[in-house]
Amino acid sequence: MGQAEQREIVGKQVIVPPLEARRETIGLLLALAVLVALMTLRFVLLSGESEQQFMKPYHRLDNILQGGQRTLYQAMIAAVPEIVDLRNREGQWPEVELLEMEEVPPFAPQFLPATLQGVVWSSLDGGSWIDYVAQDPSGGETITLLLRVIDLHAEYHPHPHPGIDYDPNEQVAIQVWMFPEANRAYPGERLPEAGWFWVVRPDDPVLTKPQTVQTPTPVPGGGEG
Protein backbone atom coordinates (compact mmCIF):
# COMPACT_ATOMS: atom_id res chain seq x y z
CA MET A 1 0.00 0.00 0.00
CA GLY A 2 1.43 3.39 -1.00
CA GLN A 3 1.76 6.43 1.30
CA ALA A 4 -0.82 8.35 -0.71
CA GLU A 5 -3.43 5.57 -0.20
CA GLN A 6 -2.67 5.40 3.57
CA ARG A 7 -3.20 9.10 3.89
CA GLU A 8 -6.54 8.76 2.07
CA ILE A 9 -7.83 6.06 4.56
CA VAL A 10 -6.68 7.98 7.63
CA GLY A 11 -8.46 11.00 6.35
CA LYS A 12 -11.74 9.16 5.62
CA GLN A 13 -14.65 10.50 7.62
CA VAL A 14 -17.00 7.93 9.21
CA ILE A 15 -20.42 9.31 10.04
CA VAL A 16 -22.07 7.65 13.05
CA PRO A 17 -25.83 8.29 13.11
CA PRO A 18 -27.12 9.74 16.37
CA LEU A 19 -29.04 7.48 18.80
CA GLU A 20 -32.73 7.34 18.10
CA ALA A 21 -34.30 6.73 21.48
CA ARG A 22 -37.84 6.51 20.09
CA ARG A 23 -36.99 3.73 17.64
CA GLU A 24 -35.17 1.71 20.28
CA THR A 25 -38.02 2.12 22.77
CA ILE A 26 -40.54 0.94 20.18
CA GLY A 27 -38.31 -2.07 19.41
CA LEU A 28 -38.04 -2.89 23.08
CA LEU A 29 -41.80 -2.58 23.58
CA LEU A 30 -42.43 -4.81 20.57
CA ALA A 31 -40.07 -7.44 21.95
CA LEU A 32 -41.81 -7.28 25.32
CA ALA A 33 -45.22 -7.56 23.65
CA VAL A 34 -44.10 -10.66 21.75
CA LEU A 35 -42.77 -12.16 24.99
CA VAL A 36 -46.02 -11.51 26.83
CA ALA A 37 -48.02 -12.93 23.92
CA LEU A 38 -45.91 -16.08 23.90
CA MET A 39 -46.27 -16.51 27.66
CA THR A 40 -50.04 -16.05 27.43
CA LEU A 41 -50.26 -18.55 24.61
CA ARG A 42 -48.24 -21.07 26.61
CA PHE A 43 -50.45 -20.55 29.66
CA VAL A 44 -53.59 -21.04 27.60
CA LEU A 45 -52.23 -24.17 25.93
CA LEU A 46 -51.06 -25.68 29.22
CA SER A 47 -54.29 -24.95 31.00
CA GLY A 48 -56.12 -26.58 28.12
CA GLU A 49 -54.09 -29.74 28.58
CA SER A 50 -54.42 -29.90 32.33
CA GLU A 51 -56.36 -32.69 33.98
CA GLN A 52 -59.64 -32.22 35.75
CA GLN A 53 -60.84 -29.43 33.51
CA PHE A 54 -64.24 -31.07 33.19
CA MET A 55 -64.65 -31.68 36.91
CA LYS A 56 -68.21 -31.33 38.20
CA PRO A 57 -69.16 -30.29 41.74
CA TYR A 58 -70.08 -33.88 42.53
CA HIS A 59 -66.72 -35.29 41.39
CA ARG A 60 -64.03 -36.18 43.92
CA LEU A 61 -60.56 -37.45 43.05
CA ASP A 62 -59.90 -40.95 44.34
CA ASN A 63 -57.02 -39.82 46.53
CA ILE A 64 -59.57 -38.85 49.17
CA LEU A 65 -59.96 -42.55 49.91
CA GLN A 66 -57.58 -43.91 52.51
CA GLY A 67 -56.48 -47.31 53.82
CA GLY A 68 -59.27 -49.89 53.71
CA GLN A 69 -61.46 -47.58 51.63
CA ARG A 70 -58.92 -47.81 48.81
CA THR A 71 -58.75 -51.60 49.15
CA LEU A 72 -62.52 -51.79 48.79
CA TYR A 73 -62.58 -49.26 45.93
CA GLN A 74 -59.95 -51.22 43.99
CA ALA A 75 -61.76 -54.53 44.52
CA MET A 76 -65.10 -53.01 43.42
CA ILE A 77 -63.65 -51.89 40.10
CA ALA A 78 -61.81 -55.17 39.56
CA ALA A 79 -65.07 -57.10 40.08
CA VAL A 80 -66.83 -55.53 37.09
CA PRO A 81 -65.65 -57.96 34.34
CA GLU A 82 -67.09 -60.82 36.34
CA ILE A 83 -70.32 -58.95 37.03
CA VAL A 84 -70.67 -58.42 33.29
CA ASP A 85 -69.84 -62.08 32.53
CA LEU A 86 -72.49 -63.23 34.97
CA ARG A 87 -75.05 -60.86 33.47
CA ASN A 88 -74.25 -62.15 29.99
CA ARG A 89 -74.60 -65.71 31.25
CA GLU A 90 -77.68 -65.34 33.43
CA GLY A 91 -79.52 -62.66 31.46
CA GLN A 92 -79.80 -60.35 34.47
CA TRP A 93 -77.51 -58.42 36.78
CA PRO A 94 -76.03 -60.75 39.42
CA GLU A 95 -77.24 -60.32 42.97
CA VAL A 96 -74.82 -60.14 45.88
CA GLU A 97 -75.44 -63.76 46.90
CA LEU A 98 -74.44 -65.01 43.45
CA LEU A 99 -71.26 -62.90 43.44
CA GLU A 100 -70.34 -64.26 46.86
CA MET A 101 -71.00 -67.82 45.70
CA GLU A 102 -68.85 -67.22 42.60
CA GLU A 103 -66.04 -65.98 44.90
CA VAL A 104 -65.91 -62.50 43.45
CA PRO A 105 -64.27 -59.97 45.80
CA PRO A 106 -65.19 -57.69 47.50
CA PHE A 107 -68.57 -59.50 47.74
CA ALA A 108 -66.83 -62.65 48.99
CA PRO A 109 -65.26 -61.62 52.32
CA GLN A 110 -62.49 -64.21 52.30
CA PHE A 111 -60.63 -62.01 49.78
CA LEU A 112 -60.60 -59.00 52.10
CA PRO A 113 -58.48 -57.93 55.06
CA ALA A 114 -60.06 -58.54 58.46
CA THR A 115 -61.00 -54.86 58.86
CA LEU A 116 -63.28 -55.07 55.80
CA GLN A 117 -64.88 -58.44 56.42
CA GLY A 118 -67.79 -56.86 58.25
CA VAL A 119 -68.94 -54.97 55.16
CA VAL A 120 -72.51 -55.84 54.15
CA TRP A 121 -73.57 -55.56 50.50
CA SER A 122 -76.91 -54.91 48.93
CA SER A 123 -77.81 -54.58 45.26
CA LEU A 124 -80.45 -52.49 43.52
CA ASP A 125 -81.25 -53.46 39.96
CA GLY A 126 -82.17 -50.47 37.79
CA GLY A 127 -82.67 -52.51 34.63
CA SER A 128 -80.04 -50.89 32.43
CA TRP A 129 -77.77 -50.43 35.44
CA ILE A 130 -77.14 -51.91 38.86
CA ASP A 131 -75.99 -50.38 42.13
CA TYR A 132 -74.08 -52.30 44.80
CA VAL A 133 -73.96 -50.51 48.16
CA ALA A 134 -71.31 -51.33 50.80
CA GLN A 135 -72.29 -50.66 54.40
CA ASP A 136 -70.34 -51.47 57.54
CA PRO A 137 -72.61 -52.02 60.55
CA SER A 138 -69.54 -52.61 62.73
CA GLY A 139 -68.70 -48.93 62.33
CA GLY A 140 -65.22 -49.66 60.99
CA GLU A 141 -65.70 -47.34 58.02
CA THR A 142 -66.51 -43.65 58.05
CA ILE A 143 -67.96 -43.53 54.55
CA THR A 144 -70.45 -45.44 52.40
CA LEU A 145 -69.35 -46.68 48.98
CA LEU A 146 -71.51 -47.57 46.01
CA LEU A 147 -70.57 -49.33 42.77
CA ARG A 148 -72.72 -48.49 39.75
CA VAL A 149 -72.38 -50.53 36.56
CA ILE A 150 -74.22 -49.12 33.54
CA ASP A 151 -75.08 -50.94 30.33
CA LEU A 152 -73.86 -48.51 27.66
CA HIS A 153 -75.90 -50.23 24.96
CA ALA A 154 -79.18 -49.75 26.80
CA GLU A 155 -81.56 -46.94 25.86
CA TYR A 156 -81.68 -45.34 29.29
CA HIS A 157 -78.79 -44.39 31.55
CA PRO A 158 -79.12 -43.18 35.13
CA HIS A 159 -78.35 -39.60 36.05
CA PRO A 160 -75.64 -38.46 35.71
CA HIS A 161 -74.79 -40.40 32.60
CA PRO A 162 -71.17 -41.42 32.02
CA GLY A 163 -70.49 -38.09 30.34
CA ILE A 164 -67.98 -39.12 27.68
CA ASP A 165 -68.21 -40.38 24.17
CA TYR A 166 -69.29 -43.98 24.27
CA ASP A 167 -66.77 -46.44 22.96
CA PRO A 168 -68.83 -48.97 20.95
CA ASN A 169 -66.35 -51.64 22.05
CA GLU A 170 -67.16 -51.05 25.72
CA GLN A 171 -70.20 -52.82 27.08
CA VAL A 172 -70.46 -51.01 30.40
CA ALA A 173 -69.44 -47.87 32.27
CA ILE A 174 -68.17 -48.15 35.83
CA GLN A 175 -68.83 -45.55 38.52
CA VAL A 176 -67.87 -45.61 42.19
CA TRP A 177 -69.74 -43.20 44.48
CA MET A 178 -69.18 -42.31 48.11
CA PHE A 179 -71.08 -40.59 50.87
CA PRO A 180 -68.96 -39.09 53.64
CA GLU A 181 -70.86 -40.90 56.37
CA ALA A 182 -71.05 -44.55 57.40
CA ASN A 183 -74.07 -46.72 56.61
CA ARG A 184 -75.87 -44.17 54.48
CA ALA A 185 -79.16 -45.46 53.10
CA TYR A 186 -79.47 -46.04 49.35
CA PRO A 187 -80.64 -42.77 47.79
CA GLY A 188 -82.01 -44.08 44.49
CA GLU A 189 -80.93 -43.13 41.00
CA ARG A 190 -80.06 -39.48 41.50
CA LEU A 191 -76.94 -39.65 43.60
CA PRO A 192 -75.56 -36.07 43.32
CA GLU A 193 -78.82 -34.55 44.54
CA ALA A 194 -78.62 -36.77 47.62
CA GLY A 195 -75.14 -35.48 48.42
CA TRP A 196 -73.14 -38.40 47.06
CA PHE A 197 -69.79 -37.91 45.28
CA TRP A 198 -68.57 -39.68 42.18
CA VAL A 199 -65.04 -40.92 42.92
CA VAL A 200 -62.84 -40.57 39.84
CA ARG A 201 -59.25 -41.28 38.93
CA PRO A 202 -57.24 -38.21 37.94
CA ASP A 203 -56.78 -39.72 34.46
CA ASP A 204 -60.43 -40.67 34.10
CA PRO A 205 -61.75 -39.67 30.65
CA VAL A 206 -64.73 -38.08 32.45
CA LEU A 207 -62.30 -35.41 33.67
CA THR A 208 -60.13 -35.12 30.63
CA LYS A 209 -62.53 -35.36 27.69
CA PRO A 210 -65.30 -32.93 26.88
CA GLN A 211 -68.67 -34.59 26.58
CA THR A 212 -70.05 -34.40 23.10
CA VAL A 213 -72.53 -37.23 23.23
CA GLN A 214 -75.67 -37.07 25.32
CA THR A 215 -77.65 -40.02 26.58
CA PRO A 216 -79.67 -41.68 23.82
CA THR A 217 -82.82 -40.99 25.85
CA PRO A 218 -82.98 -37.74 27.83
CA VAL A 219 -82.89 -38.22 31.58
CA PRO A 220 -86.36 -37.70 33.05
CA GLY A 221 -86.44 -34.49 35.00
CA GLY A 222 -83.48 -33.04 33.09
CA GLY A 223 -80.37 -31.83 34.88
CA GLU A 224 -76.86 -31.71 33.59
CA GLY A 225 -74.47 -34.58 33.67
Partner: protein, 306 residues
Protein backbone atom coordinates in the same frame (compact mmCIF):
# COMPACT_ATOMS: atom_id res chain seq x y z
CA UNK B 1 -33.59 -83.70 -12.97
CA UNK B 2 -36.16 -81.43 -14.57
CA UNK B 3 -38.77 -82.60 -12.10
CA UNK B 4 -36.39 -81.88 -9.19
CA UNK B 5 -35.67 -78.37 -10.51
CA UNK B 6 -39.38 -77.69 -10.87
CA UNK B 7 -40.02 -78.93 -7.34
CA UNK B 8 -37.19 -76.79 -5.97
CA UNK B 9 -38.42 -73.68 -7.78
CA UNK B 10 -41.98 -74.26 -6.53
CA UNK B 11 -40.73 -74.77 -2.97
CA UNK B 12 -38.62 -71.61 -3.09
CA UNK B 13 -41.59 -69.67 -4.48
CA UNK B 14 -43.88 -70.97 -1.71
CA UNK B 15 -41.28 -70.21 0.99
CA UNK B 16 -40.86 -66.68 -0.37
CA UNK B 17 -44.63 -66.25 -0.49
CA UNK B 18 -45.12 -67.52 3.06
CA UNK B 19 -42.28 -65.27 4.25
CA UNK B 20 -43.88 -62.24 2.67
CA UNK B 21 -47.21 -62.98 4.34
CA UNK B 22 -45.98 -64.33 7.66
CA UNK B 23 -46.37 -61.02 9.51
CA UNK B 24 -49.99 -60.62 8.53
CA UNK B 25 -51.19 -64.20 8.55
CA UNK B 26 -49.08 -65.72 11.32
CA UNK B 27 -49.80 -65.68 15.02
CA UNK B 28 -49.86 -62.34 16.84
CA UNK B 29 -46.41 -61.36 18.10
CA UNK B 30 -46.72 -59.62 21.45
CA UNK B 31 -43.76 -57.78 22.96
CA UNK B 32 -43.59 -57.31 26.74
CA UNK B 33 -41.34 -55.11 28.84
CA UNK B 34 -41.61 -56.83 32.23
CA UNK B 35 -41.54 -60.39 33.58
CA UNK B 36 -45.02 -60.05 35.06
CA UNK B 37 -46.44 -59.07 31.66
CA UNK B 38 -44.74 -62.08 30.09
CA UNK B 39 -46.53 -64.37 32.55
CA UNK B 40 -49.90 -62.63 32.23
CA UNK B 41 -49.92 -62.49 28.43
CA UNK B 42 -48.66 -66.08 28.12
CA UNK B 43 -51.49 -67.26 30.38
CA UNK B 44 -54.07 -65.28 28.38
CA UNK B 45 -53.04 -66.24 24.84
CA UNK B 46 -51.89 -69.82 25.44
CA UNK B 47 -50.55 -71.24 22.19
CA UNK B 48 -52.35 -68.77 19.92
CA UNK B 49 -49.68 -66.03 19.97
CA UNK B 50 -45.96 -65.51 20.43
CA UNK B 51 -44.88 -63.60 23.53
CA UNK B 52 -41.52 -61.91 23.20
CA UNK B 53 -39.65 -60.12 26.02
CA UNK B 54 -38.02 -56.93 24.77
CA UNK B 55 -35.04 -56.91 27.11
CA UNK B 56 -32.98 -59.97 28.04
CA UNK B 57 -33.45 -61.69 31.42
CA UNK B 58 -31.34 -60.25 34.22
CA UNK B 59 -31.53 -56.69 32.90
CA UNK B 60 -32.71 -53.88 35.14
CA UNK B 61 -35.64 -52.18 33.39
CA UNK B 62 -34.87 -48.93 35.24
CA UNK B 63 -31.38 -48.59 33.80
CA UNK B 64 -31.53 -50.68 30.63
CA UNK B 65 -29.50 -49.53 27.62
CA UNK B 66 -31.00 -50.92 24.38
CA UNK B 67 -28.90 -52.98 21.95
CA UNK B 68 -29.27 -53.22 18.15
CA UNK B 69 -30.68 -56.75 18.51
CA UNK B 70 -33.49 -55.36 20.66
CA UNK B 71 -34.41 -52.90 17.93
CA UNK B 72 -34.49 -55.72 15.39
CA UNK B 73 -36.83 -57.60 17.73
CA UNK B 74 -39.14 -54.59 17.99
CA UNK B 75 -39.51 -54.49 14.21
CA UNK B 76 -41.03 -57.99 14.26
CA UNK B 77 -43.59 -57.27 16.96
CA UNK B 78 -47.28 -56.52 16.30
CA UNK B 79 -48.30 -55.17 19.69
CA UNK B 80 -46.45 -54.08 22.80
CA UNK B 81 -47.47 -54.41 26.46
CA UNK B 82 -45.71 -51.83 28.59
CA UNK B 83 -46.01 -50.34 32.05
CA UNK B 84 -46.47 -46.76 30.89
CA UNK B 85 -46.02 -45.30 34.37
CA UNK B 86 -42.26 -44.83 34.34
CA UNK B 87 -41.11 -48.36 35.07
CA UNK B 88 -39.96 -49.07 31.52
CA UNK B 89 -39.29 -45.68 30.01
CA UNK B 90 -36.44 -47.12 27.95
CA UNK B 91 -39.06 -48.44 25.53
CA UNK B 92 -40.14 -45.06 24.13
CA UNK B 93 -36.79 -44.09 22.54
CA UNK B 94 -36.46 -47.69 21.38
CA UNK B 95 -39.77 -47.49 19.50
CA UNK B 96 -38.60 -44.29 17.88
CA UNK B 97 -35.19 -45.72 16.97
CA UNK B 98 -36.82 -48.81 15.46
CA UNK B 99 -39.23 -46.66 13.47
CA UNK B 100 -42.18 -48.30 15.27
CA UNK B 101 -43.81 -45.31 16.95
CA UNK B 102 -47.04 -46.37 15.24
CA UNK B 103 -47.09 -49.72 17.00
CA UNK B 104 -50.19 -50.67 19.01
CA UNK B 105 -49.18 -50.20 22.63
CA UNK B 106 -51.24 -51.59 25.53
CA UNK B 107 -50.96 -50.02 28.98
CA UNK B 108 -52.49 -52.63 31.30
CA UNK B 109 -53.14 -50.08 34.07
CA UNK B 110 -55.98 -48.49 32.07
CA UNK B 111 -58.82 -47.96 34.56
CA UNK B 112 -56.76 -49.07 37.55
CA UNK B 113 -56.85 -46.89 40.68
CA UNK B 114 -53.26 -45.69 41.04
CA UNK B 115 -51.39 -44.80 44.20
CA UNK B 116 -49.92 -41.31 44.05
CA UNK B 117 -46.35 -41.27 45.31
CA UNK B 118 -46.64 -37.81 46.85
CA UNK B 119 -49.31 -39.03 49.22
CA UNK B 120 -46.79 -41.03 51.16
CA UNK B 121 -44.43 -39.29 53.51
CA UNK B 122 -41.13 -40.60 52.36
CA UNK B 123 -38.13 -39.49 54.39
CA UNK B 124 -36.20 -38.30 51.36
CA UNK B 125 -39.01 -36.68 49.46
CA UNK B 126 -40.12 -34.11 51.97
CA UNK B 127 -40.75 -30.87 50.17
CA UNK B 128 -41.01 -32.55 46.79
CA UNK B 129 -44.15 -31.30 45.09
CA UNK B 130 -44.06 -33.34 41.91
CA UNK B 131 -47.01 -35.69 41.55
CA UNK B 132 -46.21 -39.14 40.25
CA UNK B 133 -47.93 -42.48 40.37
CA UNK B 134 -46.43 -45.63 41.79
CA UNK B 135 -45.47 -47.67 38.74
CA UNK B 136 -45.36 -51.06 40.51
CA UNK B 137 -48.96 -51.89 39.63
CA UNK B 138 -47.89 -55.42 38.66
CA UNK B 139 -46.78 -56.38 42.20
CA UNK B 140 -50.32 -57.06 43.34
CA UNK B 141 -53.12 -59.60 43.12
CA UNK B 142 -56.38 -57.66 42.79
CA UNK B 143 -54.61 -55.04 40.67
CA UNK B 144 -52.98 -57.77 38.59
CA UNK B 145 -56.35 -59.43 37.98
CA UNK B 146 -57.84 -56.16 36.76
CA UNK B 147 -54.90 -55.64 34.42
CA UNK B 148 -55.07 -59.24 33.18
CA UNK B 149 -58.75 -58.73 32.34
CA UNK B 150 -57.93 -55.47 30.56
CA UNK B 151 -55.21 -57.18 28.52
CA UNK B 152 -57.53 -60.08 27.65
CA UNK B 153 -60.11 -57.59 26.34
CA UNK B 154 -57.60 -55.53 24.37
CA UNK B 155 -55.82 -58.55 22.88
CA UNK B 156 -59.22 -60.02 22.02
CA UNK B 157 -59.95 -56.92 19.96
CA UNK B 158 -56.72 -57.51 18.02
CA UNK B 159 -57.46 -61.21 17.53
CA UNK B 160 -61.28 -61.46 17.51
CA UNK B 161 -61.25 -65.16 16.68
CA UNK B 162 -59.51 -65.80 20.00
CA UNK B 163 -61.34 -63.20 22.10
CA UNK B 164 -63.55 -65.73 23.93
CA UNK B 165 -60.58 -67.98 24.65
CA UNK B 166 -58.56 -65.04 26.04
CA UNK B 167 -61.41 -64.11 28.35
CA UNK B 168 -61.82 -67.68 29.57
CA UNK B 169 -58.10 -68.05 30.18
CA UNK B 170 -57.97 -64.71 32.02
CA UNK B 171 -60.85 -65.69 34.32
CA UNK B 172 -59.27 -69.08 35.11
CA UNK B 173 -55.93 -67.40 35.86
CA UNK B 174 -57.67 -64.83 38.05
CA UNK B 175 -59.31 -67.59 40.08
CA UNK B 176 -55.92 -69.17 40.81
CA UNK B 177 -54.44 -65.83 41.83
CA UNK B 178 -57.42 -65.06 44.07
CA UNK B 179 -57.06 -68.40 45.78
CA UNK B 180 -53.43 -67.49 46.64
CA UNK B 181 -54.61 -64.16 48.00
CA UNK B 182 -57.40 -65.73 50.08
CA UNK B 183 -55.02 -68.30 51.58
CA UNK B 184 -52.56 -65.56 52.59
CA UNK B 185 -55.31 -63.31 53.94
CA UNK B 186 -56.72 -66.14 56.05
CA UNK B 187 -53.35 -66.35 57.82
CA UNK B 188 -52.71 -62.60 57.98
CA UNK B 189 -56.17 -61.84 59.35
CA UNK B 190 -55.47 -64.10 62.32
CA UNK B 191 -52.32 -62.14 63.20
CA UNK B 192 -53.89 -58.77 63.97
CA UNK B 193 -51.50 -56.96 61.59
CA UNK B 194 -52.88 -53.51 62.44
CA UNK B 195 -50.72 -53.39 65.55
CA UNK B 196 -47.52 -53.98 63.57
CA UNK B 197 -45.35 -51.21 62.10
CA UNK B 198 -43.95 -52.09 58.67
CA UNK B 199 -41.22 -50.56 56.48
CA UNK B 200 -40.01 -51.46 52.98
CA UNK B 201 -36.78 -50.67 51.17
CA UNK B 202 -38.62 -49.11 48.25
CA UNK B 203 -42.17 -48.29 47.30
CA UNK B 204 -42.73 -51.25 44.98
CA UNK B 205 -44.98 -53.09 47.40
CA UNK B 206 -47.58 -50.41 48.10
CA UNK B 207 -50.30 -52.02 45.94
CA UNK B 208 -49.80 -55.49 47.41
CA UNK B 209 -49.70 -54.25 51.01
CA UNK B 210 -52.85 -52.21 50.44
CA UNK B 211 -54.70 -55.29 49.19
CA UNK B 212 -53.59 -57.24 52.26
CA UNK B 213 -54.71 -54.47 54.59
CA UNK B 214 -51.14 -53.70 55.69
CA UNK B 215 -49.95 -50.15 56.24
CA UNK B 216 -46.41 -49.16 55.24
CA UNK B 217 -45.02 -46.80 57.87
CA UNK B 218 -41.70 -45.97 56.18
CA UNK B 219 -39.98 -46.43 52.82
CA UNK B 220 -36.19 -46.41 52.84
CA UNK B 221 -35.32 -46.12 49.18
CA UNK B 222 -38.24 -44.57 47.33
CA UNK B 223 -36.85 -45.34 43.88
CA UNK B 224 -34.52 -47.83 42.32
CA UNK B 225 -30.97 -46.74 41.76
CA UNK B 226 -31.05 -43.96 44.34
CA UNK B 227 -28.84 -44.99 47.20
CA UNK B 228 -29.55 -43.23 50.48
CA UNK B 229 -26.85 -40.81 51.57
CA UNK B 230 -25.49 -41.16 55.16
CA UNK B 231 -27.75 -38.31 56.22
CA UNK B 232 -30.79 -39.93 54.62
CA UNK B 233 -29.95 -43.28 56.18
CA UNK B 234 -29.65 -41.59 59.56
CA UNK B 235 -33.04 -39.98 58.97
CA UNK B 236 -34.55 -43.36 58.07
CA UNK B 237 -33.17 -45.00 61.19
CA UNK B 238 -34.60 -42.17 63.25
CA UNK B 239 -38.00 -42.56 61.58
CA UNK B 240 -38.00 -46.35 62.03
CA UNK B 241 -37.28 -45.85 65.72
CA UNK B 242 -39.91 -43.13 66.04
CA UNK B 243 -42.52 -45.20 64.18
CA UNK B 244 -41.53 -48.28 66.20
CA UNK B 245 -41.16 -50.36 63.00
CA UNK B 246 -40.91 -54.07 63.76
CA UNK B 247 -40.72 -55.53 60.25
CA UNK B 248 -38.57 -54.34 57.33
CA UNK B 249 -39.14 -55.81 53.87
CA UNK B 250 -35.96 -55.70 51.81
CA UNK B 251 -35.55 -56.92 48.26
CA UNK B 252 -33.07 -59.11 46.49
CA UNK B 253 -31.10 -56.34 44.79
CA UNK B 254 -31.03 -53.93 47.72
CA UNK B 255 -27.56 -53.46 49.15
CA UNK B 256 -27.13 -55.61 52.24
CA UNK B 257 -24.90 -53.04 53.93
CA UNK B 258 -27.82 -50.62 54.38
CA UNK B 259 -30.11 -53.35 55.65
CA UNK B 260 -27.44 -54.46 58.12
CA UNK B 261 -26.90 -50.93 59.42
CA UNK B 262 -30.62 -50.49 59.91
CA UNK B 263 -30.90 -53.82 61.70
CA UNK B 264 -27.96 -53.00 63.99
CA UNK B 265 -29.37 -49.59 64.82
CA UNK B 266 -33.04 -50.51 65.18
CA UNK B 267 -33.30 -54.25 65.81
CA UNK B 268 -35.98 -54.34 63.13
CA UNK B 269 -36.51 -57.83 61.58
CA UNK B 270 -35.64 -57.98 57.87
CA UNK B 271 -37.27 -60.14 55.17
CA UNK B 272 -36.64 -60.29 51.43
CA UNK B 273 -39.39 -59.76 48.84
CA UNK B 274 -39.01 -60.19 45.10
CA UNK B 275 -39.61 -57.43 42.61
CA UNK B 276 -40.47 -60.00 39.88
CA UNK B 277 -37.73 -58.69 37.63
CA UNK B 278 -34.99 -61.33 37.90
CA UNK B 279 -34.41 -64.68 36.20
CA UNK B 280 -35.74 -66.21 33.00
CA UNK B 281 -39.04 -65.27 31.40
CA UNK B 282 -41.43 -68.13 32.14
CA UNK B 283 -45.20 -68.34 32.28
CA UNK B 284 -45.23 -69.47 35.90
CA UNK B 285 -42.95 -66.71 37.17
CA UNK B 286 -45.62 -64.27 38.33
CA UNK B 287 -47.49 -66.90 40.33
CA UNK B 288 -44.31 -68.35 41.80
CA UNK B 289 -42.85 -64.98 42.81
CA UNK B 290 -46.12 -63.69 44.22
CA UNK B 291 -46.59 -66.90 46.21
CA UNK B 292 -43.10 -66.40 47.57
CA UNK B 293 -43.88 -62.79 48.49
CA UNK B 294 -47.11 -63.78 50.21
CA UNK B 295 -45.36 -66.58 52.13
CA UNK B 296 -42.62 -64.14 53.20
CA UNK B 297 -45.14 -61.56 54.40
CA UNK B 298 -47.04 -64.19 56.38
CA UNK B 299 -43.79 -65.45 57.93
CA UNK B 300 -42.65 -61.91 58.82
CA UNK B 301 -45.94 -61.09 60.50
CA UNK B 302 -45.99 -64.44 62.32
CA UNK B 303 -42.44 -63.91 63.61
CA UNK B 304 -43.21 -60.36 64.67
CA UNK B 305 -46.15 -61.60 66.68
CA UNK B 306 -43.61 -63.64 68.63
Amino acid sequence: MKRFALLLATSLFLIALSGANSHAAGPLKIGVTLHAYYSWVSEIVGETAIVEPIIPPGSDPHTYQPKPTDLAKLKEIDVLVRNGLGHDDYINPMLKAAGREDMTVLDPHKGLPLIAVHEQTYAFESGEKKVAYNSHTYISITGAIQQINTLADELGKLAPANAALYKTNARAYAKRLRRMQADALAKINRLDPARLRIATVHDGYAYLMQELGLKIDAVIQPRHGIEPSPRQLQDTIKRIKQADVQVLFSEMDYQKKYVDIIFQETGCRIYTLTHISNGPYVKEKFEQDMQRNLDTIVKALTDARG
